[in-house]
């Protein structure tokens, strides 16, 4: 227990990085996922095909592979750099790319299932008053679609919090990698340290689940 108290600033710092990874890649994957969903329902076969290909490749590749590819493939081989001298900042952003690219594929499928719950008549009425395809999507279909899938989107965000630990694979000092380091430093306090980190994740995810459940009920579209 003493080890956990002594190392508390370090642990909190690691969780702060976890929060940053979650928030930034959460926002990016939400936007990118909605764009992908729009592509997959668009009238243009090229966009539909590209969206489907992206989703099926990313969704069926292990996240670890994607993150390692971002670190080595993008970072080392292709020399994508976000900071010349701060290596940790570099791997932070590279892992954001991986997490966002991966999570967006799932966001896309959730949003697309939401689009399927919106009755066809809504789109017909929107087109009948002269809205363009994009306006119909943005003003009529997506607002209703997203409201029906707030709960599953919450589950995705919950998974994302835990998936950020994979960023450890390319050296991002988030909670999981920090925990492993603390194990090495405090070999006699493995169980307390483990419990401390586990509790930290619960503290992050539990309120999110409650909030998304409440939002889903509040924003439900009554038909």
């Amino acid at each position: 227990m003493e080890a956990v108290v002594d190392e508390l600033p370090v642990i909190l710092g690691a969780f702060w990085l976890t929060v940053k990874l979650t928030v930034v890649s959460g926002v990016i994957s939400l936007i990118w996922g909605i764009v992908l969903a729009a592509m997959r329902v668009s009238p243009l076969p090229v966009l539909r095909g590209a969206g489907a290909l992206y989703v099926n490749v990313l969704r069926n590749t292990p996240l670890t592979l994607i993150i390692v590819f971002c670190g080595l493939g993008l970072g080392t081989v292709m020399n994508v750099q976000f900071s010349r001298d701060d290596l940790s900042l570099n791997s932070f952003w590279l892992s954001i790319i991986g997490l966002s690219a991966y999570t967006a594929a799932f966001v896309c499928e959730v949003v697309r299932s939401g689009i399927n719950t919106v009755p066809l008549g809504q789109a017909e009425a929107a087109r009948a008053i002269g809205l363009t395809f994009l306006q119909t999507l943005r003003l009529v279909i997506l607002p209703q679609a997203v409201r029906t899938v707030i709960a599953p989107l919450g589950s995705l965000l919950n998974a994302l919090v835990k998936n950020t630990t994979v960023a450890a694979a390319i050296g991002v000092m988030e909670a999981a990698l920090r925990m492993k380091n603390l194990f090495d430093a405090h070999g006699d306090a493995i169980i307390p340290i483990f419990l401390g980190f586990a509790a930290g994740f619960v503290v992050l995810t539990l309120p999110m689940n409650l909030l998304s459940g409440r939002l889903a009920r509040r924003l439900a579209v009554v038909r």
Partner: protein, 251 residues
């Protein structure tokens, strides 16, 4: 009867054909609707009435034939098609009000987003239209909070908000409880009197007699007969129409 300018119809269909898979739903349709004319389309279910209505604003595509609206052939897609649709109002059987928007927002969405009218102006005009259809007190409510008749009247206000050159009614009262049919028909009769060009697919024969300039009778994807309401209802010229009328007018 209203004077119809025969030389320049608002809508003209020529040789229009459409298939749904193996089903030939529109067979070589030719039809004109004059400015200010009220055309009521009747016929047995599955005769292609709704499809005829829906090809005019291209919610359904056609296989062959031409459709000319206001002197121009219907655009196939894109912004030109959206612009055309903004000039043709449509009222659906199932209302199709935007469920996530209030009644007033339903009415102002088109004017603000398509016509780029200021929100304030659109709301003022929206309230006038809601007044015209008699539901001002429902302006702030969501569609699901209204009765079917109120929803359909809101849908008519939404169509009117675009100042359309014509309104298509696709069985506007078929999904309504019987006691709500009249309030919707009253609004439609009012529009007809005010000179709105209308094409109405309906089973309401009373409305057809009262408000139509012309009855179009369809069966099996074809226009079998057309004529003034008095002619059609008293002495239909085809066996098919006589048969149809005998079935619906006896009870």
């Amino acid at each position: 009867m209203t004077e119809i300018s025969g030389s320049d119809p608002l809508v003209r269909l020529e040789g229009v054909n459409k298939h749904f898979g193996p089903l030939h739903v529109l067979k070589d349709i030719g039809l004109s609707v004059g400015r200010g004319e009220v055309v009521v389309v009747i016929g047995p279910s599955g005769s292609g009435k709704s499809t005829l209505c829906r090809v005019i604003n291209r919610l359904e595509t056609t296989d062959t034939g031409t459709i000319v609206f206001d002197g121009r052939e219907l655009p196939a897609e894109g912004r030109a098609l959206a612009r055309l649709r903004s000039e043709v109002g449509m009222v659906f059987q199932s209302f199709n009000l935007f469920s996530h928007k209030t009644i007033l927002e339903n009415v102002t969405l088109g004017p603000t987003r398509v016509r780029k009218i200021s929100r304030q102006q659109a709301e003022q005009r929206g309230m006038e239209l809601l007044e015209r259809v008699g539901i001002t007190s429902q302006a702030g409510k969501y569609p699901a909070q209204l009765s079917g008749g109120q929803q359909q009247r809101a849908a008519i206000a939404r169509a009117l908000a675009m100042d359309p050159k014509m309104i298509l009614f696709d069985e506007p009262t078929s999904a309504l409880d019987p006691e709500m049919v009249q309030e919707v028909l009253d609004v439609m009769t009012g529009l007809a009197k005010d000179g709105m060009t209308m094409m109405v697919v309906t089973h309401e024969m009373g409305f057809a007699r009262r408000a139509a300039n012309r009855i179009v009778f369809m069966a099996d994807g074809q226009i079998v007969e057309e004529g003034s309401p008095s002619e059609f209802f008293t002495q239909p010229s085809t066996e098919r129409a006589r048969d149809f009328l005998s079935k619906i007018l006896t009870h």
